[in-house]
Symmetry: C2
Subunit: 249 residues, 2 copies
């Protein structure tokens, strides 16, 4: 199966790397950003182009959601299978007379961070069983954790991921603002953060809850409100505490 990856962002880079590491040839990476394409090309030894899209059996479109439709229109063959890698788009976003699919890796990707690809869940959708099977097998060469998933399921997977990953990271960023404001070393908090996550490998998150809100400790809640000087911090503080208190009412 001849594979072309379209895109040069975090997901495109890591997919290309995951394939390469597992001895699956990627024939071309295609995109607009020549600087990024060139870097990926040099690191992974994959030809790139910004102009001529190579022929392929499978095109994987890893561009931002808002660009998927336009990019999908560049593929003019009817013989190919075309999959996007988005958690929040139906396969019908792909515009063309080819077979359509979704190939969604559930992970947060940064180019500077190595990943253990075998642990990443991949969610597959295709228009027919043959394509579904071939994408399933392809993903299984990278990962031990491959599932089929239609758009309905995928949407909720992505929404859950926003809470469990994007919002969690934002809390770390806001926590660091508080700690920076007092010249505290943010490294103090790393063992605590590690343990917070380690816990939910073994406990239900709901049972693992600690802190003043779940204990109903009004004195500390009030003390913290007085310490907080940033409006955004205060909004988060109040929203989260109210939500905690409602959950354990």
């Amino acid at each position: 199966m001849k594979i072309v990856i379209i895109g040069s962002g975090n997901v495109a880079y890591h997919l290309a790397k995951a394939f390469t590491q597992n001895n699956i040839e990627v024939s071309q990476i295609f995109g607009r950003n020549e600087v990024e394409l060139n870097k990926i090309s040099e690191e992974l030894n994959i030809p790139y182009s910004t102009k001529e899209l190579a022929d392929a059996d499978l095109y994987l479109i890893s561009v931002s959601d808002s660009a998927v439709e336009q990019v999908s229109d560049l593929i003019r063959t009817e013989k190919a299978l075309v999959a996007h890698t988005s958690g929040s788009l139906p396969i019908e976003t792909l515009k063309g007379n080819y077979r359509k699919a979704s190939f969604y890796p559930l992970q947060t990707f940064s180019k500077t961070k190595n990943l253990e690809y075998s642990k990443i869940p991949f969610f597959i959708e295709a228009e027919n069983q043959i394509d579904e099977k071939s994408l399933f097998e392809l993903a299984s060469l990278i990962s031990d954790n491959v599932e089929t998933s239609d758009y309905e399921k995928r949407k909720y997977i992505h929404l859950t991921a926003v809470f469990a990953c994007n919002f969690v990271n934002h809390l770390f960023a806001r926590a660091k603002e508080i700690s920076d404001s007092q010249d505290l070393d943010f490294n103090y908090f790393i063992p605590l953060i590690d343990e917070t996550v380690e816990k939910i490998h073994h406990l239900e998150p709901k049972s693992a809850q600690t802190g003043p809100a779940v204990r109903g400790d009004e004195r500390i809640l009030k003390l913290h409100e007085e310490l907080i000087t940033n409006d955004e911090h205060l909004k988060i503080y109040n929203t989260m505490n109210e939500s905690i208190q409602k959950m354990y009412q």
Copy 2:
């Protein structure tokens, strides 16, 4: 130094265990909850009492914040050093004519979860340098990460911890509600959560931010709002996204 621990909750248990593992004798655990005291006593081979507080050089009070003052009044000797383990109380909360101190381990504790004590930051405060030094040395027998900290600093450490730990865990609990509502296996999200935290070992949380809000992807934000049926989820969703967008404005 003869040590007595007062309390039978998560912190009391883990302190007793950390001392025992490091061959530091705990003379007694004292408290009201005989069932819990008995369990700790059997596991760690430490005498317990609910009635007679043993004589000690150091009393460590590990009870809920609201009970510290009352419990501290049980100690009638003037010769002892008495420390509480709270992040949000001044040492003046301790009522008695003894030397007062704080011995604050920055971690989230559950009895059912083993911990690597050497990594836990301990923050020490005492009224005089001799006591500070002896508590510092005691904590250093357990942990590689001991600092002094007055109440001003400790308050902000605790506030930061609420954002980085308590609120993060609550996001996991709310994320699991979404995933449960669609019969998704929450284990799908564990590699994502692990990576979210692994990232901030290497990157600034602010630089590691991903997701629709930081990309300004209004289509997905609107789609998610439509998917969310729970008021608390929606409040968190909007508060966090607004905060993310303000941070990167």
